[in-house]
Symmetry: C2
Amino acid sequence: MANEDAQAESELETMRHSAAHVMAEAVQSLFPGAKFGIGPAIEDGFYYDFDLPRPLTNEDLAAIEAKMKEIIAADAPFIRQEATKDEARRIFAGQPYKLELIDELPEDRVGTYRQSTFTDLCRGPHVASTGKVKAFKLTSIAGAYWKGLESRPMLQRIYGVAFLSPADLENHLKLLEEAARRDHRKLGKELDLFSIHEEAGPGLVMWHPKGGAIRRTIEDFWKDEHARRGYDIVYTPHIAKVDLWKTSGHWDFYREYLYSPMKVEEKEYIVKPMNCLGHILMYKTQKHSYRELPMRFAELGTVYRYERSGVLHGLTRVRGFTQDDAHIFCTPEQLEDEISGVVDLVRFMMKTFGFERYDLYLSTRPDKYAGSLEGWEHATNTLANVLNKMKVPYQVDPGEGVFYGPKIDIKLKDAIGRSWQGPTIQVDFNLPHRFDVTYVAADGKEKQVFMVHRAVLGSLERFMGCLIEHYAGAFPAWLAPVQAVIIPIADRHLDYARKVEAELKAEGLRVRVDSRTERMNAKIRQAQVDKVPYMLVVGDKEQASQCVSLRLRSGEDLGAQPLAAFKSRAKNAVATRSLEI
Amino acid sequence: MANEDAQAESELETMRHSAAHVMAEAVQSLFPGAKFGIGPAIEDGFYYDFDLPRPLTNEDLAAIEAKMKEIIAADAPFIRQEATKDEARRIFAGQPYKLELIDELPEDRVGTYRQSTFTDLCRGPHVASTGKVKAFKLTSIAGAYWKGLESRPMLQRIYGVAFLSPADLENHLKLLEEAARRDHRKLGKELDLFSIHEEAGPGLVMWHPKGGAIRRTIEDFWKDEHARRGYDIVYTPHIAKVDLWKTSGHWDFYREYLYSPMKVEEKEYIVKPMNCLGHILMYKTQKHSYRELPMRFAELGTVYRYERSGVLHGLTRVRGFTQDDAHIFCTPEQLEDEISGVVDLVRFMMKTFGFERYDLYLSTRPDKYAGSLEGWEHATNTLANVLNKMKVPYQVDPGEGVFYGPKIDIKLKDAIGRSWQGPTIQVDFNLPHRFDVTYVAADGKEKQVFMVHRAVLGSLERFMGCLIEHYAGAFPAWLAPVQAVIIPIADRHLDYARKVEAELKAEGLRVRVDSRTERMNAKIRQAQVDKVPYMLVVGDKEQASQCVSLRLRSGEDLGAQPLAAFKSRAKNAVATRSLEI
């Protein structure tokens, strides 16, 4: 069964790759001077990067699609031919990107595929003929730097999706439409949550007042819950001497993600790519007895890692992000309870934020590893035992642990079934060894601590991107940046509206009055666009009876009710972090 | 009167400077090979930096003091002589630091002062003779890099204090003793609040669990109070393209405090030295009507500024610090209300943290300034009007405003009368102009906003250093990292102690059980050393009656009381942010 799945998957991927070639042929025939970048299969479809004399329009997409249909109808065979590099250079004369790729290929002979008049540099495989390309649709155009480097030319990338049947395609297009409606970049702008500025730097997020309100709510909840579970909230600086990362090994193994050093009085500093080392230094300011363990240092620590500008994406792929990080220092005997505590916290958090479904992966020892075999065995068994005892289903990813220890990764499923990278729980044998992080055991001997890295949300930025899409911007009341808008029907109701506002604010609710000189319906529409959970309409009747007329953002009209009743409804929704408003 | 004060002040300073020379002569006679750095008068006394063959001990200080008394008794005259640089080089042959200073002096002729056998490179003035050096005491030895640069040799600095009368000296020594007892670096270590690590970098603070608990309490209070007063909490990244700071002018005017750039894909980035520019970019993502103003963006923004390692000092002079920053964008008409609101917030905050006394300074237009004369006049008058209307006494510092606008600075007086740099309120004409920050006025025209920078605590690091010393580590209950320690008299009371702990934790109180196998008195002593506000002793009697025996950290024993009574006492002290426990 699994085998059949894998075979179907690879068939689909081959067909999608062939669809990219068909698209390239269509572009070649419509734009004779086109220069070609690369055109791989990707999840759900394919893309191809083109260097064209002018920007593409949506009309172009339609024309390319029509041309592709002709090519498919013609059912020309895909023909593979090998060539020497010199022959290839002649075939792709006038195609600078292809020539660059040919220069970089390590092999002496390179593969080409031809269908009809179009030839591409390609390893294959492909379907037998263009007619085998099934249900497809071109979906979007986007700028993409050649090789993802800001310093190289910006090409035009056309994305398409392709499936084995029209029904599959249609389902997928519906999902895409829904995903587009939920896109956190679009909603982030519409709801005025955050911005990213070319002037300040791509991949660096600024949280506006409304996004800041959500972030603060999450942070406070996170800190309270961690404190309740015996974590200590700590703070460490964002820069430190690079020597620390030489000791840790990151300078060698992780260099491409590190920012270049700043020199201060002959010493080199970097912006921190992770929070672990600060926590280790703090732990080491004193000797610790086994009686003091476990120690759990938690920090909302903002870290900076280099990512190519070409791969940056909204909140989900950024250069600066705030990890909801914690490091647990414990004895081997305590490891099981600690892991169990983290898994429990993860489940509590995911439930609170409304994620019903998630997949767990347990990654075990790779070929190259730090630490001892017994250590790995103990830690891996502990992780598995915890999941078994807690009856949490998981998959094993054999050999997929990081070199420093085994780990559990959790992928969240959002409201429309897409997977998001979520919590991670990692045992680390490397850092305690390199920094000599120890405790005094019951027998009086100094022993190496077991160290656990864990993040429950992952990064605040990515998690908030995920939340925006999961809720399609319609946050539950406890997270909503504005929880209620008070809408006076006429100017003479403004005083009462202000009184309602003051009473709700005094309860710690985030509310505002829409005092614009607009009609009531326009104000209701605006509040709905802003996805505000509660709209409180106030007019003569409400004022006279100290009521509010409550509308939900769903459109449901619950009619007039005493202000006190609404107050307790809203306070309860916030206090219980209810997913229903 | 003021004139006489100034004269007395300058007399005292001259005497202190002469005392430094007397100390240098004493060191020369006790350490014949000594090399001399510099030896100025400072607040309350003087110091001198020496390069000596071995580290000084406290016994050396006593010997130097004795030798100084001999020199003073001999009453040798101070004799001024000018010399050419070449002559000076001969006089100071074998004194490499003096020779370096001679090379750097711009004048052709340099001043020297000689008393008895000791000659120093010095502009003077000095007292007439060594006998005029009055009541003095050597107070401490500290390492000090030559010129404050980590890359230059480490010298030994001897600090002394000197006054015109023995009574003045004695008063000062008492104050010093009290200050030493309160030193935040000492208390920070003893109370396990924070650490600074040479490995990570000097001037970079790590907040341990207990310090983190205090910091979090302050941050939450700060955010709640700002939200209550109509500020929006925002977040901006810690790095950004250097071009922003070129536009702002900081790259030119402020360069020495900026970290060196990091290169990312051919663009230069720096760690941010201030938060303003991020807030401006956010403001500018949309056009704003006068009806939307004022907008108040508040951020606990961690910034990094270079300071020479020689001047770094605990929490008060650091390289990375978190400003409690906000920027107000408003119209000229709104400026008065806004300034008034900030002054009110400042007074509320200072009162809450227990600062009864503070001095205000209004700094007016300097000779070189940005913006228009009318703008300056309007803003300066507004600042003065607000202070006058609110009946807040202040001093004018004419011409001491920053180039970009007038400002109010506030200095806090701590429990033992020392001044600490505190809140600041600054109008800025420079950034709105350089970044073209505007609003659409009632007449439909685009006008430049008035921008106010303000920090109420200054920096969290410095403010927390000040708080530690102000309270001598004995924080009021709402700030105390551990609010109560529960002390079981014997092991059989541990269960009840845990029950008390759980009940208090459920109320959000920070409590812990001292479960060590120590005697009750030792546990009480430990809690007093830790300056925990409340100690709850529980034994048979308390367990039987659901009581706790309450001791305050002052030593006061309030006897047994129902747990509920203590709960409400502690909750009330925390909720009202009482300064009494």
